[in-house]
């Protein structure tokens, strides 16, 4: 049985408890260390926002169709709002590493698509190829990009897409 009537002894026990409490905080506030990225690895991030082409071609309304509409809605062209999905394929040294077909967001599927993909790859020299299709009306990929890249360890290589310029490394 511990003698708890002894105040000094009780303070000593309290010091032990506080020390243990602080030791737990000491350790877990920064340990064990966490390795997020293995040595000799780098990151390729492909990130861009792009709206696909309108999914269906516009249709010129006939006279009958126009007359069937209320007077204030008689626009000559009937265009759908829905946009094509964005299809993207990323290859590294000829191997497909990422492939996605992203539907346009929004209730009418008429908004732009945000693509964000970060891939962990080995550092060093690679051949990067990116293909993107933004229209269901045309066969094949509308944009292609291919370039030799040199990745330093832990480097984040950022690939962006700008309308009119296509893919580019930032």
């Amino acid at each position: 049985m511990l003698n708890t009537d002894n105040k000094l002894f009780q303070y000593f026990l309290q010091a032990i408890n506080y020390s243990f409490f602080m030791a737990v905080i000491w350790y877990f506030s920064s340990s064990p260390s966490y390795r997020q990225l293995e040595e000799g690895k780098s990151i390729i991030t492909v990130s861009f926002a792009h709206a696909g082409e309108i999914k269906e071609p516009c249709h010129r309304r006939t006279q009958e169709e126009l007359m069937a509409l209320p007077p204030n809605m008689r626009a000559p062209m009937d265009c759908t709002r829905e946009r094509s999905p964005i299809k993207i394929e990323i290859s590294l040294d000829g191997n497909l590493v990422y492939s996605e077909s992203a539907e346009a967001p929004g209730f009418y599927k008429d908004s732009g698509v945000d693509i964000y993909h970060a891939a962990e790859v080995s550092s060093g020299s690679h051949r990067l190829a990116i293909k993107m299709d933004d229209s269901v009306l045309k066969e094949g990929f509308d944009y292609t990009f291919e370039q030799d890249i040199e990745l330093k360890p832990a480097q984040i290589l950022l690939v962006d897409f700008l309308p009119g310029r296509g893919f580019l490394i930032k």
Binding site: F21, M22, F28, Y34, R35, Q36, L37, S42, S47, A49
Partner: protein, 515 residues
């Protein structure tokens, strides 16, 4: 699990005593840690520069240039936050192990869960503001987590690419950390204790000082430092994570964002459903009998859960007020019955003893009968009536020819006149064994009984009751040895004074448990 908790509690009783035992003050200790975080945070806010270019440098200034004040403040800010996670988790463990999360307590349990999650997110935004490599990891990880939800149409992670990060986004996080989240936290804390009366948010001074001193020592011995500055062109490789707050991120790297959300959601749902699994049987709540209530409000003052309110008299009686019980808030602890002056077993006006506020499943009349029966069943030289509660030590375990146990819902359910009545009816001594001192299942049962016996709280024990024949002791189911020892000591004292005339001496009140 309960035994593990009781063992831990016993250990702290040995080293801190029952008044400073941190297991009895986990809630208030968390409040105290929040105060430390708030005060240190306000100081740091004065020096911190809330921009992408200025944040890291200002934190470096805080850490290294003005280490003796600001650096210590930063360390205290971090370590008090870490300590708060520990006290919150221990608080949850304690309430769960002691079964204090079911029935009427569902509200406190459920409203406490968002506090935990909010504290975690508060810590996350705090790490974000340093804008070092760890902040970069946390920012991108948080963005990935949010992007995986079908909420945002644009990618949040794309904000953390080289050249994309803006001060506006940084200021948004700063606003969240400094104002938005703390305000929500204070609201949630208010909600968490809303159904409790006499809420104390301050721990005992000694415990608070000890905790602050320990955190200060840690802050000097191991000052909080930053990683290298955030660099969005390269990935941080090795990170010194604060595992109290950032444990979800490695899990997300190992699993996926979706699975991490799924796990967090599953844990939350399981914890939220716990109060109803398995369903708890409804206990009849306290009932007011206006014919015996004079509106004295003692039950209103004593109710630990704000279940009793006072209103104007509705029955035309000459008294001004009456009390009303809210069944949704009533814990059926019976403390109100113990505080009612009408719960006096000496009353003989009617065949059935009635009181102003009673418990239908264990009315005061039945308690009087049980007392009579227990005393009649004892045949030894020194008859000791032990009155216990449902959540502490089972007093019936010590039944024999000169000891009988009487189990009530809570020790606070005992009207002082009942003790006097038992002594008058032939008991040589009355020993009250409630929950461990400062750890009443119904919050204030053993505290109120102490105060009633020492005359600090009405209804008081009348002076004509011989206090030497009354013993109050706290104990749990694991404290049989110490309770037996205390009972034997009490019996010896009672034997010595048995034939003496009754006199008024100080009440014995001890609360030690098995160590």
């Amino acid at each position: 699990m309960k035994r593990a908790y009781l063992a831990l509690e016993s250990w702290f009783n040995v080293s801190f005593g029952t008044e400073w035992n941190p297991m009895y003050h986990l809630g208030t200790l968390t409040f105290f840690l929040f105060w430390i975080v708030l005060v240190t945070g306000l100081y740091l806010f004065g020096i911190f520069h809330g921009s992408i270019d200025g944040a890291y440098d200002s934190v470096e200034y805080i850490t290294h240039e003005q280490w003796y004040i600001a650096g210590v403040m930063r360390s205290l800010h971090r370590y008090a936050s870490d300590a708060a996670v520990i006290t919150i988790l221990l608080h949850m463990f304690k309430e769960f192990a002691a079964g204090r999360y079911k029935g009427f307590r569902w509200f406190s349990w459920v409203s406490g869960l968002p506090v935990l999650w909010l504290v975690v997110t508060l810590g996350i935004t705090g790490y974000w503001l340093v804008w070092d490599e760890l902040a970069q990891y946390v920012a991108i990880g948080s963005a990935r987590l949010l992007d995986s939800l079908p909420i945002f149409t644009s990618s949040m992670a794309s904000n953390f690419l080289e050249g994309e990060m803006t001060d506006r986004f940084f200021i948004l996080i700063e606003f969240l950390h400094l104002l938005g989240q703390p305000l929500i936290l204070f609201f949630l804390l208010w909600l968490h204790v809303k159904r409790l009366s006499n809420v104390d948010i301050n721990p005992p001074r000694g415990l608070a000082m000890g905790t602050l001193l320990a955190l200060l020592v840690l802050s000097f011995v191991k000052p909080a430092v930053s990683h290298g500055p955030a660099d969005l062109t390269s990935m941080p490789t090795v990170l010194q994570l604060d595992w109290f707050y950032l444990n979800a991120y490695p899990l997300m790297d190992y699993w996926s964002e979706g699975k991490t959300w799924l796990l967090a959601t599953a844990i939350t749902f399981v914890l939220m459903l716990l109060p109803w699994v398995p369903p708890k049987k409804d206990v009849p709540v306290a009932v007011v009998d206006l014919a015996h209530c004079n509106g004295c409000e003692l039950c209103f003052d004593d109710c630990p859960f704000e279940a009793i309110s006072v209103q104007a008299r509705t029955d035309g009686a000459r008294f001004e007020k009456e009390v009303v019980v809210d069944p949704a808030l009533c814990a059926a602890c019976g403390i109100c019955m113990g505080s009612c002056p009408s719960s006096n077993p000496f009353r003989q006006s009617e065949d059935e003893l009635k009181t102003g506020i009673d418990m239908p499943s264990l009315p005061v009349d039945k308690i009087r009968s049980m007392t009579d029966k227990a005393i009649a069943e004892m045949s030894g030289d020194t008859k000791v009536l032990m009155i216990g509660c449902e959540h502490g030590f089972n007093v019936n375990r010590l039944d024999n020819n000169d000891t009988k146990g009487l189990k009530l819902f809570c020790s606070g359910m005992i009207p002082p006149t009942l003790v006097e009545y038992a002594l008058k009816k032939g008991a040589d001594g009355v020993m009250i064994v409630g929950c461990r001192h400062n750890d009443c299942f119904y919050r204030f049962g053993n505290l109120w009984i102490d105060k009633r016996f020492t005359g600090e709280r009405k209804p008081i024990l009348r002076k004509r009751a011989d206090r030497r024949r009354i013993r109050v002791f706290g104990g749990s189911e694991t404290d049989k040895k110490s309770i037996e020892k205390e009972l034997q000591a009490f019996r010896n004292e009672v034997m010595q004074i048995k034939d003496e005339p009754a006199s008024s001496v100080q009440v014995e009140d001890k609360g030690e448990q098995d160590a």
